[in-house]
Subunit: 170 residues, 2 copies
Amino acid sequence: MKRILAFVGDLYEDLELWYPKIRLQEAGHEVVLAGLEAGRTYHGKKGIPCRAQAAVSEVDPEAYDALLVPGGFMPDRLRREASVLQIVRRMDAAGRAIAFICHGGWILISAGILQGRRATSTRAIRDDMVNAGCLWSDEPLVIDGNLISSRNPGDLHHFALALVEHLQLA
Amino acid sequence: MKRILAFVGDLYEDLELWYPKIRLQEAGHEVVLAGLEAGRTYHGKKGIPCRAQAAVSEVDPEAYDALLVPGGFMPDRLRREASVLQIVRRMDAAGRAIAFICHGGWILISAGILQGRRATSTRAIRDDMVNAGCLWSDEPLVIDGNLISSRNPGDLHHFALALVEHLQLA
């Protein structure tokens, strides 16, 4: 069993959290939801509620095997938080899997870890990704070492499986 | 690759359609969404849209290996349609898997196929299930031959995996 940290906040993309979350649970893993405030319930773009179990400011990145970054407009808020960027940088430095989809790339841009690395995202933030030094391509799934990325909810069947397979080998 | 028919309509339970749908796609299968009107977009209880690819009145049950019946209040509408009940009866008679969750059991009650068979559902319709002759139990997953049932979205990791495994053996 592995432990996966997932970022949550208002206007997260509903299926981009819930499909990987339940899929990881199906594979026997534990997913812990972290938001700005522990115990608070956040709502997705479509309205599906999710309760943050932990506060990002109190998360110990060492306690997790992987990080899941859903899209929606949640990343626009969380990328402003130093604790969020610190979690991303430390998990990346430790070689832990970081799976991000759609607008999730914004958080990796602000963490400053995309220079020279291959990834994808929603087309909307392609220019932001490229300007951050990312080797961006328009594919359903891009894997570059510990970075796993997809474009949108239509890629979720590739995205979640790639994370599950990565955790089997890790 | 197997073909799975899924019932859709307004007020379907969002994750009870989308988690199994993407999970089946991940396993290499095709899911066809059927509603009262082909081409119409229906909205889940939380608002996630889905477009019916086929009309239930025109579905050929022989063309499908399994049936997925999500919950929400959609089943309250679809159980009134003779064509829906006919699909359920014919697929059951042919031994095809029928996976139903939450309020999905209403449709099986009206199809008259639950007498003496083991299943579960949301607690809300337990009495309806029992009155229809079902041997009901409060478990995350109940499998009785070709009938696969679960209680609510919290059981989805058991429910979808059971359907995927059933299709591997079928």
